[in-house]
Amino acid sequence: MNGPPAADAPRPSFPERWTRLLRAHGSALHPRKIDALGSRTADLVLSGRADQAAADLVNAHFTDPEMLVQAVELLRFTGFQDPDPVGAFAAGWATSLRERTLVQQESIRTAADTARHEVERALHASEARFQAVFEHAAIGIGVGSLDGEILAANRSLLEMFGARLDDLRGRRVTDLVHPEDTPEVWDSYEQLVAGERDNFQCDKPYYRQDGEVVWTHLTVSLIRDEDGRPRYQVAMMEDITDRYRLQERLHHQATHDPLTGLPNRAAFFERLEDLLATAPPGSRFGLCYVDLDRFKIVNDSLGHAAGDQLLIEVAGRLSGALVPQGHLVARLGGDEFVVLLERCRGEHDAVAAARTVLSALQEPIRIDGHQLAVGASVGVLERPVGTITPGAAVRAADLTLYRAKEAGGARWTLYDARTNAESVGRYTISVRMPLALERGEFFLEYQPLCALSDGSLAAVEALVRWRHPLLGVLGPDEFVPAAEETGIILPLGRWVLEQACAQAADWQRRFGPLAPQLNVNITARQARSKGLLADVGRILAETGLEPSLLQLELTESSALEPRDESLRVLQGVVDKGVTLCVDDFGTGWSNLAHLRDLPLTGLKLSSAFIGDPASQDAASGVSWRIVSGLVSLADSLGLTLTAEGVETPDTAERLRSLGCDWGQGWLFGRPAAPEALEALILARADKSVN
């Protein structure tokens, strides 16, 4: 359809249609601006400058190719004759769009370059900051490759090592070993460079360039790249040499004897405990307990200063002779020393060490112009680890030493289990017991005696225990015989009586008729002592205990002689209302005359007679017949018979059926603190109701 538009048709003008096209296309521009743009560019087309119109549209962001299609169509349909604007418009559009694209691409490239430079500058500044942090940090920092090459080290680290960078760079981290490194340090290091761990910390010594040692608190970290692959290791270290030396000095002071410089008692026990806890099974160790033979004479005659000089000299000789062999020499106190053999192949090794001790002290020691032949005694113990505790080992060595002393000194004695057992009580008692009593190391436990007829509580026996600081809790069997021998039993026995009566009186006050009878053991020495009668009287008066609630147990083997002084003492006790019984009846060569002469109320049958009722062997059968006979004996004399060592219900039943009155043993209760007995006491109420 050619030709100009018909005059009569209400057809919109070209500028109107042109502007409508722009509007329909859409733009962020305000509609008024689109109208203005439309009429301006329509005028340009009409005035033959279609290329400029295209340029203006592109600059106003009308850049969609769809827009070009519509514009070209409109120009063609409008039917311009000369010049035809379609070509000019399309060419102008293309030229402008190309220009615009190039300009914009250049501007965004420039912006990107600027930004990149800015980032690089910032990176550089940041790097410089990190460099400054690295260089001026107060802690030492070193960077190494994964194969251990030292790549960089900061100023603090160089100062710590007293080195220049060139001294360290290129060296291997693994060259920096020190004999005092713990094995874990290098294990951790291997794991770190293998990427198995990300960091570790430890205290580690290094050799400085001048050969001195610097102690450091070291932290090593693994540095990974963006993909998590290990790349570098960074070590940060703090100089802790001063702190370490101080610690070392304090530790040395705490573990060494200030006079001789030898490890002290605490250090020795620490080492021994560690050895016994960590040595592989089957390995053996040895102890030589050393005591100077004539030290006291030196001290008393030449004075303490000379005594100290002597100890210093002895310490020097012992450590000079034994430390090179790998043994530990410690001073336990006074003139007592100990040698610890950590790896012993047998008794001969321990004996060899003891001989070395003796020969080291053989030459007289010269002090202040005196030639002092001191000599020593040595107790030797050699045992497999795992068979003995540290305390028991030292006690055994000490007792073995005691035997060497008793034999006249200047010799060694080898540990022997049997002889040791005999001397243990005597020795420990004589040395420590008075002090132990003073320090309150003794305490009482109570064991129930129960009626076999119904199991109800009949009496409690007070049993003394010794909480020995080194040996642990000792039972009466372990120390009473020795106490008896030395006479220390008298104050101890008095103390036991006081304590037990006070406890029984407390029960009497609180439980009234339910309170049980109290049995207290009396040794022969106590029985013979005139003081006993007075003690019993005083204690009953002081505690308010009903005398009939107190029963004294005499050990039959206490060997009472006829017309013994003790008979009068015991008769006096009984006259006060206290009762008597014989303990462990049947264990000694029973003097049946006692049954006639002593004012007895009861017998306690030794557990040796109480066998297993199920046993079929002949000895067991005889035992039971003896028990049966004793039951008749006690019955006919009007004595209460108590069986000791009752452990099973079957035994209790057999004893009951034979007519035995009371039982004592684990079946009814072990020795325990007094509070533990109170439930049994209260249970008597139920039994008495039934």
Partner: protein
């Protein structure tokens, strides 16, 4: 040390960037091949995108014109990108010839481009800062100077909050900025909305997930909540073309298809009511 950048931001031309992709949607050439590849893929899935960006740009123009008409002379445009098509200072100055604009973006290329473009404009400033660190943003001298002096400031958060993930607590960020505004200030907001085109949420977010600016389209209520503390200007929170259209027919059919929710809110002025 506050505001000191410890490590510089990174420039990566291999990864598409939201500002340059936006420029491509609008027909510009301020972009690189990576941006164009992503934009082409996005348009293939959602052909309305160029129209949406145009509508977004038109809303920015109408809201700035409106506020300039209300007497605003200070504008803080956060997430300004590459503002070649109708930049805020040009629009505002048609009404307020002395209008001051501070453009803020976190993309160093957008910042460098804006600086080059505005180098001879004495009343415009360009600041490199990140919306997700409002303390540092507010501490920038040009931002602080704009907020200082008590004159109301128009805070523009146009098509930027949907680039702030939930972990960055966008509502807390907006509240922090609100508290820094002088009395009588305004918030201009445009945010991609899930309800407009629920079918597009998944695919569109997937495309942006691989960029340094992942997209989070939010629900209407979440978007309206950004105006907490503001009094909404008529017509409230509406779809892009529904906000004060230039003419009734400019709204177009199905405005929700454009998926952008917009609104303008005002803070109370300090003057006590009579």
């Amino acid at each position: 040390m506050h505001g000191q950048r410890w490590s510089p931001s990174w420039i990566d031309f291999e990864t598409p960037n939201a500002a340059r992709v936006y420029d491509y949607y609008l027909g510009g050439s301020h972009n690189f091949e990576a941006d164009r590849q992503m934009a082409r893929r996005a348009v293939e899935i959602w052909p309305d995108l160029p129209k949406i960006m145009q509508a977004n740009r038109a809303f920015l123009r109408r809201s700035v014109q409106y506020l300039a008409g209300e007497g605003f002379t200070r504008f803080l445009d956060i997430g300004s990108g590459i503002p070649t098509v109708g930049p805020v200072h040009e629009i505002a100055r048609e009404v307020q010839p002395e209008a001051r604009v501070v453009y803020v973006d976190r993309d160093p290329v957008a910042v460098a481009h804006s600086l080059a473009m505005l180098s001879d404009d004495p009343l415009s400033r360009v600041v490199h800062a990140d919306l997700t660190d409002p303390e540092e943003l507010l501490a920038q001298p040009d931002v602080a100077a704009l907020l200082d002096g008590g004159a109301p400031v128009a805070l523009l958060l146009v098509a930027v909050l949907h680039f702030v993930p939930d972990e960055a607590q966008p509502h807390r960020l907006v509240a922090r900025l609100r508290d820094a505004l002088p009395p009588g200030s305004a918030l201009v907001l445009c945010h991609a909305c899930r309800e407009g085109r629920p079918d597009q949420v998944g695919p569109h977010q997937d495309i942006y997930a691989r960029t340094r600016t992942p997209l989070t389209m939010r629900g209407c209520e979440e978007i309206a909540a950004f105006f907490d503390g503001f009094r909404l200007v008529d017509p409230g929170v509406v779809y892009l073309t529904q906000w004060r259209p230039d003419s009734p027919d400019a709204v177009g059919p199905a405005p929700e298809r454009l998926a952008g929710l917009v609104g303008v809110g005002r803070l109370e002025s300090e003057q006590a009511p009579p």
